[in-house]
Symmetry: C2
Subunit: 474 residues, 2 copies
């Protein structure tokens, strides 16, 4: 990794050149680079923490002066118990994931000796813009190298000392590996983001990791594709038939286990027939956890009748904008709907298409909901907080995407890959085929590189032929 003060154009061009070399390194070479980074960061823990202490000192001053929030100061602290070790372990976890590139995902025999193959490959050059958390730099570097992508990193000013220390360790670690240093560049110059966002000839994908304002700014400032989500406005629809204890368990988790998370619950839709049956106990449980409830008139009057006066006094009236607000806090908007159709229509209009859920004992209602909700994750009888790459079994996540193309929901390493098509032929040409000419075979072949066991004589012959003379794509 180089810590660079080069111009944005120089940074992007050198990343592009580096990415071409990185893309053809072997799995072992990329993994060895991750091992080297891990060792360097483990050995350099003390110097990173010294640098981190400088960032913390400045942040604490700013917090005392009221220009920085306490939660941001907390996020900066790499010395917090286990945090540095988690960061180190994360690098090894990424290293040990399956290699996402050079995988054959489709193989078609177009004609004799004319083989079409689809192979996964890196996207190329990533631009990653992130806010305060300094450990993200190690995580992102690991993900980029594992997937064969070069990355240009721009971190928040608050972590600049920590970033510089980590980048310097990664840089010297990489010098002993096959990875060109231009494949990981930490941009230190201020105010370069706007210029970087213009370089769509050299940068293939931009990943902003931070709050709503950052993501919106990036999306509106570039023609480079952006992976991520601006809002996480998650909604759950509670049906009258769902057992109250299970509903409480799920909704408490969804709302209170990490209110600042993008997958936390912001709105509860309640089937009208549940207003006086399930809702009061659910509302009481949420109030007991300190959640402010902003209710529509129907829910409000039902709850006022059922709850004790102390609890009833805590209830608030919802305004229209509460149904379009991501609170990121212990606040929940509640709205009454008559049926699943109305719930679907409300969610498709008001949710941020991140994660929405239905709680019901009816499999037909659930099926209808799962197929009708246009969101990246749609759940039946579980908490919206499940939306997470670790929980989905990806090992790690790049972020969560609400895009409608490429990668949707929690994005793992696969989201950092694309594919290329190869054809291996023997001088066949396009004009030989079609009207009056030869017919295409279009024979689908197995894709597993090691596991292709020929099913019959024809496949045996094919396998022999390609293994003998052709590329490693069979």
């Amino acid at each position: 990794m180089s810590l660079t003060n080069a111009t944005p154009l120089q940074v992007a061009q050198s990343a592009r050149l580096g990415s071409r070399k990185l893309a053809v390194l072997s799995t072992e070479e990329r993994n060895a680079a991750l091992t080297a980074i891990h060792e360097a960061l483990a050995a350099g823990k003390d110097e990173v923490l010294v640098a981190n202490a400088k960032d913390l000192e400045a942040a604490n001053k700013a917090a005392a002066g009221g220009t920085l929030s306490q939660s941001l100061v907390k996020r900066l602290d790499l010395g917090k118990k286990g945090k540095y070790e988690d960061m180190l372990q994360g690098i090894l976890d990424v290293r040990d994931l399956e290699d996402p590139i050079n995988k054959t995902t489709s193989r078609t025999l177009l004609d004799d000796d004319l083989l079409l193959t689809r192979l996964t490959c890196p996207i190329g050059v990533l631009l990653i813009i992130f806010e305060a958390r300094p450990e993200v730099i190690a995580n992102i570097s690991a993900l980029a190298l594992k997937s064969g992508n070069a990355a240009i990193l721009k971190g928040g000013r608050e972590s600049s000392h920590s970033f510089a220390a980590i980048a310097s360790l990664i840089s010297s670690a990489l010098s002993s590996t096959a990875v060109p240093p231009s494949c990981l560049q930490l941009v230190q110059t201020h105010d370069v983001v706007a210029d970087l966002l213009k370089l769509d000839d050299y940068i293939d994908l931009c990943i902003p990791r931070g709050g709503n304002a950052l993501v919106k700014y990036v999306k509106n400032s570039t023609s480079i594709p952006v992976l991520g989500h601006a809002d996480g406005l998650c909604i759950t629809y509670l049906c009258a038939d769902y057992p109250v204890e299970k509903a409480i368990k799920i909704l408490i988790d969804a709302k209170t286990s990490y209110p600042a998370g993008c997958n936390s619950l912001e709105q509860l839709l309640v089937e009208s027939s549940a207003l006086t049956t399930t809702l009061p106990a659910v509302a009481q449980a949420l109030l007991d956890k300190g959640v402010s409830l902003r209710c529509d008139p129907l829910a409000l009057s039902a709850l006022k009748e059922k709850l004790d006066s102390h609890s009833a006094a805590l209830l608030q009236e919802a305004g229209e904008k509460d149904y379009d607000t991501e609170f990121l806090d212990l606040i929940l908007a509640i709205k009454t709907v008559d049926n699943v159709e109305e719930a679907i229509s409300h969610i498709n209009t008001h949710s941020s298409h991140h994660t929405d859920a239905i709680l019901t004992s009816s499999s037909s209602a659930a099926k209808h909901f799962l197929s009708s909700i246009d969101s990246s994750s749609v759940y039946w009888n579980t908490s919206t907080r499940m939306a997470d790459g670790q929980r989905y079994g990806f090992g790690t996540e790049v972020g969560i995407s609400t895009n409608k193309i490429h990668s949707r929901g929690p994005v793992g390493l696969e989201g950092l890959t694309i594919y290329k098509w190869t054809i291996e032929g023997d001088a066949q040409v396009s004009a030989e085929y079609g009207a009056g000419g030869k017919a295409w075979k279009h024979q689908k072949l197995p894709t597993g590189d090691d596991e292709w066991t020929a099913q019959n004589d024809e496949e045996k012959e094919l396998l022999r032929k390609f293994r003998a003379g052709k590329t490693n794509s069979v």
Copy 2:
């Protein structure tokens, strides 16, 4: 299909609402709509051709006045032998393709009774902007409905009578089907494109089908993702070891079979040791087909020495910009390189990342080339003209993408889909798992809906359980 003069916002909002209904229609309902469109267009052939004749008359006048090219007039003509029937057959071909949506592409048991499924689904609302060819409207309508997407279509002015006639037939055909009419809207108002391109809240993907200028305009005018390619600058590298007859066959096809095609060859790189061996015969064959050759100094002097004086006189000197030009004509730029490394570096810098090829008998050179070239299609010993959805076996194609995300190369129906994640649970919540809590199972399960045959007792029990109580996703 409605022929609309509504405002861009009304068009986009109604398409969004329609798309939600379309997304949950069954395969049979969507196929029935394609059958109805086919029948209506077959029965209405005469009225379409009458309308088309009006477009042709205007176009011929414009061509006589020099404001329209003759090739555009030809593309307008729906009455040309077989063209209308091809358009009709195309609709049935699309109908009979495998349904690309509601396919399970991943299934993981996160824990007992907690199933994560990845299901393909439509992208949502497409904006398709195309130029003169009137048959594209039928083709695009079929592709959109087959994949469950709503489409807003904006065609070139030259075909407006043909478009209106076709749209009116499609509109009445759809009225007897389950597809909401707002799912296919032909925008007739002039100058609405700029406004439509701003509606990224309602439009998910934009597909410009036309020339370089249209694609570049669209890419620079919107934050909606754009699928397509601006340039098709395809390059082939000819190695000295490759048999001359095969080289001629491939290069004649690549350069001359359809020079206006985006997959046609624009540049030939020649290994320096082939300058006096293979190149002269290749050059002669290309000259015989009327191809103008623009050569670098080394190729020029080698060819001047080897070709007869008549042919030698036809050779031209290449300028630097010839190596960055998509000629779309019978012109080929020729450049000498010393080896495969130099060829790779030139192609990665100058090609448009559409389709590039190597002609060699060396499997090691070919492997290196296939893995190093950063283009959507990379070939060994075949013509760049192979880059086409029909030829790849997709049945039809939406276009060819040089994007680095989502879909790359010829794009079939799969490129019009994305996926959603569903979880079916039984009140499990996120806080139960991880440090000190329950462990995730993350057990990968088979994805084939019909073909999942349980491998052991545990899988049998799983299968029984999900088939009994849960959704159709297992």
